[in-house]
Amino acid sequence: MILNASGCLDALTAPAVARSLDAFVTKTVTPLPREGNAPPRIAEVEQGMLNSIGLANPGIDRFLSQTLPRLGELGVPVWVSVGGFTVADYADLCDRLDDRPEVEAIELNVSCPNVDDVPGSVGEIVAAARAATRKPLYTKLSPATADIAEVALAAQRAGTDGLSLVNTILGLALDNHTLKPRLSRGAGGLSGAALKPIALAAVYACYAATGLPIVGMGGIASGRDAIEIVAAGAASVALGTILFSDPDAPGRIRAELASEMAALAVGEADNVIGLAHAKTTAASETAAAAAALSVQ
């Protein structure tokens, strides 16, 4: 399954791109409307970009009354990303989405600023959200933590159905001439190619620890990148920064992934999930595939 990464596509301004996905994930919705941070709030760096958008969104009221009905008409399953500043915020947001038929799943963005990122608090957020909704819950984690598998286990114990890995990691870029931060806020979230090895490590660790379905993201820009994150343990792949330079990326990467799979002769896509964890002494088909992976 190919999705967009939250905050990296507006289905209402680019419906054709949204329709090329297996599911559309909204930008994170918060209890109140947010304008986001002052510009400049994006800066390109050598292997990716920084953003300090600051969760610009219409707030849950306007989202439910205006945005969601229009998203429902697109004909693409809709995942709603929610973010709050207290545990109660998350419960409230999930409660209000629970009876909306347009919503296929909820992504809990527990990796936004001002929300404590320690396992206990992720566990509390997920537990509160779990109690508020029957919709499938995906918990989106930050890679900026000492032991992400431990956070993932806390989310699992609290009842998450899956994990979204990973969110951006803080980075800083300085202006060439003035040596001042290029973003008005100073640091911003690093995404794109630079994030890929970090994302692979997070997916690898969380798959081994939890076995939960994972939406893998972070610098995925080609079919090769996609098959790698799937091999690390992702069941689905989300595209973020690559959509900015290539809105046609979902179709392209789907096709590239198919040829990567054909070259590996692994049969169904599901056979690749977690392949990086397989012992070379496993079933012959998997072993051959693992060998093929290692020579490329």
Partner: protein, 223 residues
């Protein structure tokens, strides 16, 4: 929405700027003031560029090499290929009675195509140096002013002003002509509303310039 791969057919040095020519292929030139996202070879993100001219079978972009992306674009050679997405955004309204084009520096870029669409109306262009002012030859009927003279000092009253240039120039034009149409700039990652990076204050709210603009009514923007 698919970026087209376009082939570079040539490049011409005009003062410090490069006029990059690419084969048009299936790309529509769009309305003057609209822009395209151009792949900047070797860079993660594309760069927004106004269309400068659209001769038969080609598209031309006037590029100021100020950083890594624009320098990579200016270094393209005939035969090289690049991905181009567009036309994007909202261009100038062309239903104006007494048009006056006003440009500052690289803000001259969209004016040749705009001038063509409006039948070569008068233009006032401001530049930092005589070398930068070489770009004025792309715009017919242009009067050139050089710093320390500013375009606003040379603007005759009673015209429908269509302007593009650095922010302080646009702010000064807006003061003089609240009904002017102004083409703004902002850092852009996507150009099609996906990243929310290009926020500018429009009607007192932060909005996406690539969706609402880049051409905005002067009175809508708090300069």
């Amino acid at each position: 929405m698919r970026p087209e791969r376009a082939r570079v057919t040539g490049g011409e040095q005009i003062g410090p700027y490069t006029l990059l020519r690419v084969a048009r292929g299936g790309i529509e030139p769009g309305i003057p003031g609209q822009f395209f996202m151009l792949e900047a070879p070797g860079r993660p993100l594309p760069r927004p560029m106004s269309l400068c001219l659209a001769p038969p079978g080609e598209l031309e972009f006037l590029i100021d090499p100020i950083g890594p992306g624009t320098r990579a674009l200016c270094a393209l050679q005939p035969g090289d290929e690049l991905a181009i997405l567009g036309p994007l955004g909202n261009g100038f309204r062309l239903d104006v009675e007494r048009p006056l084009l006003v440009g500052g520096g690289i803000g001259t870029a969209p004016l040749p195509y705009l001038s063509e669409a409006l039948g070569s109306p008068p233009a006032i262009l401001g530049f930092r140096t005589a070398r930068h002012a070489e770009a004025a030859r792309l715009v017919p009927n242009a009067e050139v002013v050089l710093e320390p003279t500013y375009v606003t000092e040379a603007m005759p009253p009673g015209h429908d002003v269509l302007a593009c240039g650095p922010e302080p120039m646009l702010a000064a034009v807006a003061q003089l002509e609240p009904a002017a149409q102004l083409a703004w700039e902002a850092a852009m990652a996507c150009g099609y509303g996906a990243c929310y990076g290009c926020a500018v204050e429009v009607d007192g709210e932060l909005k996406r310039l690539c969706v609402e603009g880049p051409v905005l009514a002067a009175e809508a923007v708090a300069a």
